[in-house]
Structures are given as C-alpha cells and as structure tokens.
C-alpha cells in the first residue's frame, strides 16, 4: 500500500487529524476530537499498528490521554493518565510531551509541573520516573510564562535527553534511572548567573536521526544585552553547547527541527523577542545547510507583511520522505506546508483553532 502522510494537530479546541497521499498535494481533515479541550501534545506511533495519541488537557476535569487505533477516525481515552502520587503534593497541570519508549507499548510523557512519567502498556497505566521527577533540583526549577513544563523527551538507546522550561537540559545515561543537568554553554539572560548549572529556559531540543551525537537547541534568546544564546548546537551528545545564531534576524523562537536525512540541515522560525511574533509581520522559516554556519531565509509563498502569529514549541515538524516537507501551525489557526524542504510554502488549512502542536508521520 502506498504511504500516506498523517498530521496530528493539537489545538486550543481539540485534536484534528489530516491525511494526504505521499505526493502531499491535498489533505483531508477530521476532528475535532476531545472537542473544546486543549491538546498540547500529539504522537503518531507507527512502530507496529499505527496509533495516534493526544494529551487532552481538560481545565475542568483533569488530564486525559486520547488514543486512536484507526488512524484518527475515532479516539478513546486510555484507562488512565499520568498522576502524581497522592502524598506528593504536586498536582498535574498539563501534559506537554508524548514520546515512544524502547518497547512496542512503551510511552514516555512529560508534564507540568515538570516531571516524567512512563507507561509500558500504551498509556493505560503510568508510573512516575523519580530519577528526574524527584531530582534534587526539581523543587528549585521555576515556571516561565508557559508554566513549568517538561516539553522535550529524546531517546537514543539508554541515553535520554529532557528539555525543561525553566529547568534546562538534563541527560540520563542509564535509561532514566538517574539524570544530570547538561547545560555547558546554555545561557539564561534573566538570571543573575548567565550560564548557570541548571534553570535555563530551553524551548526545544532536537537530535538529527542520522547523527545522535549532534543536537540542536532553541533556547530562550531575544535579549539584546545577551545575544547569541538562543540557537545552539552540540557535537558531544549535549555535554556542551555553542551558538549558531549568527545570521538570523532574532535568536528568539520556539521550535527547531532537523532534516531527516542530513544532520547538517536544521530549521528555525525566529520571532521578535518582545511580541513572540514574526519579525516585521513577515513569516519566515530559516534553514541552515551547514550545521548553523550560515542561514537562508525560506519565505516563498508567505505573506510579506501584516502577519503577526506565533509558532509554538511543538508547532513545527518535518516528514521523512526523500524530499521532505515541513509543516507548522500558528496561533492564528493556519496550518502551512513547506514543500521541497521548505522552498515553497502554501496554507493547507486557513481557520483552525489556535494551534499548539503539529506532528507528522508516514504510515502504510
């Protein structure tokens, strides 16, 4: 069967699923699922029979995990959602990340207040990962405007990277039993100590698929007094980081994605630091083809003015077809596709609810 492209779109008013052929000419839309409830994280798990997950962050009745086993025709709640132990004192406020684990039914989940949960049965039960959730730093992390969220979970064998805002970058080398901060070179402009051991406002981290030692980070930049702390690169599994923001119009932004076939190609979407909107009202994705050494603007098809939206940390993704396309959702409810590796942009859906996250995957 030819591959199809599936998009799992989390919005302020529920989850949508878009589907298109691998030529990506047209997409159909289903949803909203979990209607009226914000979805901050989605996952298309195609390790075996494809499943789509979404975090339904219900302000009234608490957090739920939605799961579809029919590629987004229908969703049901899993038997339970992550929850802190009764005597912990913390209360789950949001679910920010869902990632597949090592086993076929293993899932990882990052939540607010920043903690990690793990499921071994596809989300029907969850156990808190105490190595990071009860880390000696955990009660010292401070919430940013978006809350104290664990938004990035990256797995590379037994090595697990976490991104916490504001907590910084943490790494486990033992499959999640213990974690250490790993923020050498990661700045925190608002902190008395500009390069602290931990406490940075990391926005997103990505590992190129073909080079696990290489990592890219969108950190909280945008401070004219402390330039070049926003877009960073590591070549040693995240042990140290250096700036690659030279040539960008702003080092502030939320998402960062890596090309699926070339670890030197990375994409960011710079925003103005004060407004967190497109610089000059002109949306532009920037691509580096040399690991951040230089940047090229990609704006063919975008409005040239009067567009002041935000793309949130999980609002940009890239498929892994031979000539990949990028996809991003905006806080104004537009879903854009950048065909030919972002050379040509067009709007797939004009008027969805405000979009929090977009994930793409190919399924048979």
């Amino acid at each position: 069967m030819p591959k199809r492209v599936i998009l799992a779109i989390g919005t302020k008013k529920g989850m949508f699923v878009a589907e298109g052929a691998s030529n990506r000419n047209k997409f159909s839309l289903k949803g909203p699922f979990g209607p009226g409830v914000a979805v901050y994280s989605t996952l298309i798990d195609n390790r075996s029979t494809p499943k789509i997950y979404g975090s339904s962050c219900n302000s009234w009745f608490g957090m739920k995990i939605l799961r579809s086993t029919d590629l987004g025709k229908s969703f049901r709640e899993t038997k339970s959602a992550p929850a802190f132990p009764k005597d912990d004192g913390r209360v789950l406020a949001n679910i920010w990340s869902l990632e597949p684990g090592a086993g076929k039914k293993d899932l990882w989940c990052g939540v607010e207040p920043a903690s990690l949960f793990r499921s071994t049965n596809g989300g029907d039960s969850w156990e808190m990962v105490s190595g990071i959730s009860n880390h000696e730093h955990a009660r010292k992390w401070m919430p940013g405007n978006g809350g104290l969220c664990m938004h990035t979970i990256l797995r590379d064998g037994d090595r697990i990277h976490l991104g916490i805002s504001t907590g910084g970058h943490y790494v486990s080398e033992d499959d999640g039993s213990t974690f250490k901060p790993s923020n050498t070179g990661v700045g925190a402009a608002w902190s008395p100590e500009k390069f602290p051991e931990f406490g940075q406002c990391v926005h997103k981290i990505v590992i190129p698929k073909s080079a696990p030692g290489r990592m890219y980070m969108q950190n909280h930049g945008g401070d004219p007094n402390h330039p070049n702390i926003g877009v960073l690169r590591s070549d040693d599994y995240g042990r140290s980081w250096r700036s690659i923001s030279e040539g960008l119009p702003s080092d502030f932004g939320f998402p960062i994605v890596a090309h699926p076939h070339d670890p030197d190609i990375v994409y960011v979407m710079p925003l103005e630091g004060m407004t967190r909107t497109c610089p000059g009202g002109a949306p532009t994705v920037w691509r580096s083809a040399n690991g951040g050494g230089s940047w090229k603007k990609l704006n063919t098809g975008f409005p040239k003015k009067e567009s002041f939206f935000t793309v949130q940390r999980d609002g940009l993704d890239i498929d892994d077809l031979k000539s990949p396309a990028l996809y991003f959702g905006t806080t104004t409810g537009q879903l854009w596709i950048g065909r030919d590796s972002g050379e040509q942009w067009s709007c797939l859906f004009q008027s969805l609810p405000p979009i929090h996250c977009v994930k793409v995957a190919l399924v048979e």
Partner: protein
C-alpha cells in the same frame, strides 16, 4: 440515602448514570464512595491531592461546598449533592 447528580460530561465515567446514590454521612464519605466505586469519575472531580478541582463546583442542595464545613460537611437523608463544571469559555 444521598443522591449525587452527575453532569452530562461525566456520565460516561459511571455507566451513563445521571444520578447515583450513597449512604455517606458527610462530603468526605461521598468522595470516598466515588473513589471506590467510580475511580475515573472521582479523578475528574478531585485532583490527585484529594482536593475538588478548581473549575468544578459542588453544591449540597443549593449551598456551595465552600460555604459549608468543607469535607466534614455532614449530610442528611434526602440531601442532593450536585457536581457541576464551572461556567467558563473563551
């Protein structure tokens, strides 16, 4: 017997029932009863710390729980406990 009115959004967590009954003597007992019999429903009403969720309102007859004696508010036969989502939007 105490009657507990369940809002439409939560009836899926108690086999579709609009109302369930309890022999609890106080509000604490009502919530313990819910937790034992309908844990998913209880999780929608109370957080993992055991507190009523911020945007859920509980009334005993026509009086809001916050105007009563908290979890130890006593109940009498025939009382009706309403569980209602707060009005909100945007």
């Amino acid at each position: 017997m105490i009657r507990i009115q369940i809002p439409g959004q939560l009836q899926q967590y108690c086999s579709g029932a609009k109302e369930i009954s309890s022999v609890a003597k106080d509000i604490q007992g009502v919530f313990e009863d819910l937790e034992n019999r309908f844990p998913a429903l209880y999780g929608c009403v109370c957080d993992e710390g055991g507190n009523v969720r911020r945007h859920v309102n509980v009334f005993i007859n026509t009086t809001h729980l916050r105007e009563c004696n908290g979890m130890s508010t006593s109940l009498n036969a025939g009382d009706v406990v309403f569980i209602l989502p707060a009005v909100s939007g945007g």
